[in-house]
């Protein structure tokens, strides 16, 4: 069990007031808050040993290089990667996926080849493949989503076939909360000779993820969603695949030797990290990993499962007014709840809850096709949890949703309003 009261004290922003009310931050799927230790890691870097990495012989540069590479080791261990060369630092999940699309996929996917996605992908794991498919005359196929909000795998054998070169799918849906059986699908992908990329933007922050156990070829995630700084993230690539990959961006850091005419590439993973990296961000991500490991990812997952169960129960009261999306089975669901009422548009709901200090998200959550074409609405409201959220906060959400419904269903006449 997490000691949530103690955890909350580690997050300075949680003592902030919004319009005079305590902040209730339920927008964790968009980005997470940061503990003091992460913020302090940035301050320590800039005040104590800020210097460019990898090329300096002076004390500051030696220290920054060492801390930078230590952070890489921490992340490598955290996701269960075999070696530090398997972890490429990127800006965010989006860049990680684009890196794969521009390098491995651009070199290995051709006319008539298929890329298998799911209907619940974030734009970041959809648009790069649309562009690639168009460029290469390849075909995108989609694993459908059931009404329950899970993947419909009944037709997987046809969807995943000898033309499939890549399966690219989310580990956890940022709209439905669904946790997909990526390990099984990885095996099936490999059985037909396809590789598999896992969009772990929502899973790495919230549950134990081990790339070796999953058997995936690529896995991308963002620091800002896992208590770490913005502007940094990771892309895991398995060794055999890494060896075949041509560089992505080019410039300083990623070269071995350069003449006016040509260049040779540096060792892995530096080969994929051109230019001065986000040094402070990387070290901050290392501190975030330390923090999560000190809690234990099993505990993190358990806390969120419990809170989600509590919330789904509490929200039942509102089931006449709201549709709730996503699977009921908590064992395959993360701490994300999307909902919609025809009576109060999600956007208005967002504004109303905000007045009470409650931060939720309203919109298509960068998953327009899922939201619009599968759920049948242009937007939903979404509450998403993390380690610092409490049952009291869920209670406040529920009561405020009720108030919002009442407010919006007031008859326009018959009562004088002050506005």
């Amino acid at each position: 069990m997490l000691d949530v009261a103690k955890i909350r004290r580690d997050f300075p922003i949680l003592s902030k007031l919004v319009y005079g009310k305590p902040l209730v931050y339920l927008d964790n799927a968009a980005t997470s808050q940061k503990p003091s230790s992460v913020i302090q890691a940035l301050v320590d870097y800039y005040e104590g040993y800020n210097a460019n990495v990898h090329r300096g012989v002076h004390a500051l540069s030696m220290e920054s290089t060492q801390r930078y590479e230590e952070a890489r080791e921490k992340v490598v261990r955290f996701i269960g990667a075999p070696d530090s060369e398997n972890l490429i630092f990127v800006r965010n999940t989006t860049e990680g996926i684009n890196l794969v699309a521009s390098t491995w996929a651009a070199a290995n996917i051709g006319p008539g080849d298929e890329i298998l996605l799911t209907e619940m992908e974030h734009h970041s794991n959809l648009v790069p493949w649309q562009r690639l498919a168009k460029d290469k005359d390849a075909r995108l196929r989609f694993i459908p989503v059931t009404d329950e909000g899970t993947l419909d795998l009944s037709n997987l054998d046809a969807l995943l076939n000898h033309r499939t070169k890549l399966v690219s799918m989310t580990h956890m849906s940022n709209v439905l909360g669904t946790i997909n059986p990526v390990k099984d699908i990885a095996q099936k992908a490999h059985a037909v000779g396809a590789l598999i990329l896992i969009d772990a933007a929502q899973s790495v922050p919230h549950m134990p993820v081990n790339v070796t156990d999953l058997g995936c070829d690529f896995l991308a995630f963002s620091s800002h969603k896992m208590l770490g700084p913005t502007g940094i993230g990771g892309l895991y690539v398995s060794s055999p695949v890494l060896e075949q990959m041509e560089p992505f961006l080019s410039g300083g850091e990623m070269v071995q030797e350069v003449t006016f005419d040509s260049a040779t590439w540096n060792d892995l993973p530096m080969r994929f990290e051109a230019g001065t990296p986000n040094i402070a961000g990387t070290i901050g991500l290392g501190a975030a990993v330390d923090y999560l490991e000190s809690l234990g990812m099993d505990q993190v997952r358990e806390h969120e499962t419990q809170l989600t169960g509590y919330a789904l129960d509490a929200l039942k009261e509102l089931s006449e007014d709201f549709n709730f999306y996503g699977p009921a089975d908590l064992s395959i669901r993360g701490g994300i709840i999307s909902f919609y009422s025809p009576d109060v548009h999600p956007h208005d709901l967002g504004t109303l809850l905000d007045q009470e200090g409650i931060a939720i998200r309203a919109g298509h959550h960068c998953a327009m096709p899922l939201t619009r074409d599968k759920l049948g609405v242009a937007a939903t409201a979404r509450a998403s949890f993390y380690i610092y959220n409490t049952e009291e906060e869920v209670d406040l959400l529920v009561s405020t949703l009720k108030k919002a419904l009442r407010y919006f269903s007031k008859t326009p006449t018959g009562t004088t309003r002050s506005g």
């Binding site: 956007h347 504004t351 007045q355 242009a378 009442r406 007031k410 326009p412 506005g419």
Partner: protein, 165 residues
């Protein structure tokens, strides 16, 4: 009703707005519109589709809208259709400019406020900068449609006096 919650939002959600949101005017498609356009806000998914039919004097004879989105964006579209009906395209654009000035918090003359009509109710949006785009969506869509219409028919602003066919 004595529920005092969200009183601070009464400025934003004025009755006129909730009324237009719940009972939108001129909803639906206009057959063979002269001016038509669609507006979309990628960040919230709000959508407005407008169609205008001009009469022999280049005034708006009929107008219809479809759309989806929050109360502000849809109420604003509904108010737009009421205000613009019977006006010339220039007059419609002037109203659009007025609303923009209102949203920027600029002083309007009494005469201008009068012309705003029900749009005055949108002034509460000013305190919610993130929602200004919602209030303007329908109007930006109208401006786009008019511009496109002019480009297609080759009718400049001044020359726009003969009726469309």
């Amino acid at each position: 009703m004595q529920d005092t919650s969200f009183e601070q939002l009464d400025d934003l959600y004025q009755e006129v707005i909730l009324d237009h949101y719940r009972s939108p005017r001129n909803q639906g498609e206009i057959p063979n519109p002269n001016v038509s356009s669609r507006g979309f806000n990628p960040f919230c998914g709000d959508e407005v589709i407008l169609g205008l039919k001009l009469d022999a004097n280049s005034k708006v004879e009929s107008i219809g809208f479809k759309g989806q989105g929050c109360s502000i964006s849809q109420a604003s579209a509904s108010i737009l259709t009421e205000l613009v009906k019977g006006k010339s395209l220039e007059e419609a654009q002037e109203l659009s400019q007025l609303l923009r000035r209102l949203m920027k918090g600029q002083e309007l003359s009494d005469e201008e406020v009068e012309r705003l009509g029900a749009m005055e109710a949108l002034q509460g949006v000013r305190q919610f900068p993130i929602r200004i785009k919602c209030a303007l969506l329908a109007w930006a869509t109208l401006d786009d449609g008019i511009e496109e219409y002019r480009a297609e028919t080759g009718k400049g602003k001044e020359a726009d006096s003969s009726p469309p066919d």
